[in-house]
């Protein structure tokens, strides 16, 4: 897990779900914003990024330890953006059923993408479906400590 640029935050992670919590905490430690937006940062972005990494490792890379997950985070100009890319074949996000429907409520899986969409201001995939971009809008602009400035 190495920051590769002094402007944006770039991480390359192994496919290891044990690495997710530390990776998310590392990203969160680099993000600062005004206290009014701390909740959106601490809940919405934290959970959204956790879900994206989780999906990349569990489904995208299918637990394959030889595959990596690339994370790029930029903060500034009123938005915090994270792009998470896996080395899998990709998937169709439109194919994921609504987990809040009564018939899906007791299923163990299937809430990750839903939570990302609920918690972030924008969630988009590339055409192949192996790269997701999460956007959280910040009124204050925010900053990556030691990196990009608002």
């Amino acid at each position: 897990m190495n920051p590769l640029s002094d402007r944006d935050l770039v991480l390359e992670l192994p496919t290891d779900i044990q690495s997710i919590e530390n990776a998310v905490e590392f990203v969160m430690s680099r993000c600062s914003t005004c206290s009014d937006e701390a909740k959106r940062l601490n809940l919405n972005f934290r959970v959204g990024l956790t879900e994206a990494l989780s999906n990349a490792m569990l489904y995208g890379n299918a637990h394959d330890p030889s595959k990596r997950v690339l994370v790029e985070v930029t903060m500034g100009h009123g938005r915090l953006q994270a792009t998470v890319k896996d080395q899998g074949a990709g998937f169709d996000p439109a194919s994921v059923p609504d987990p809040t429907r009564p018939e899906n409520l007791t299923r163990e899986c299937g809430r990750g993408l839903f939570l990302m969409r609920q918690l972030l201001d924008d969630v988009s995939y590339n055409d192949r479906g192996n790269e997701v971009t999460l956007v959280l809008r910040l009124d204050s602009g925010g900053a990556l400590e030691g990196g990009a400035q608002a």
């Binding site: 997710i20 989780s54 299923r107 899986c109 299937g110 990750g112 939570l115």
Partner: protein
């Protein structure tokens, strides 16, 4: 994440310390399943010291609740902070669980 397990008048109380997420959810699941196999039927999981739960953690709670109900028991949750309540409401899982404000209230009348 770590957790403490105690017995309270026939109810198994599990107090979770830390986040319940994809990397550690199996530990909690196995603990509850072991207790269930040992004959415990009434469970309270207390999240007073948990900041957030991801979808995998929520999924484990759903799975455990189903397994416990199949055995004739019940899983109750306690002490969800505002963020956790938000997650349960967004996913409508607040309709699936009995959620108490504190572990004491969850244990009352169980």
């Amino acid at each position: 994440m770590s957790f403490q397990v105690s017995q309270n008048d026939g109810v198994t109380l599990i107090e979770v310390e830390g986040q319940l997420i994809v990397g550690n959810r199996q530990e909690l699941k196995q603990q509850v399943l072991d207790q269930l196999e040992g004959g415990d039927l009434k469970f309270v999981i207390d999240f007073a010291n948990t900041g957030y739960i991801d979808s995998s953690g929520l999924g484990v709670l759903v799975s455990l609740s189903k397994k416990i109900r199949e055995q004739g028991g019940e899983l109750r949750l306690a002490s969800l902070n505002e963020d956790l309540r938000t997650l349960f409401e967004l996913t409508k899982l607040d309709t699936l669980f009995r959620i108490a404000d504190s572990k004491e209230k969850a244990l009352e009348g169980f």
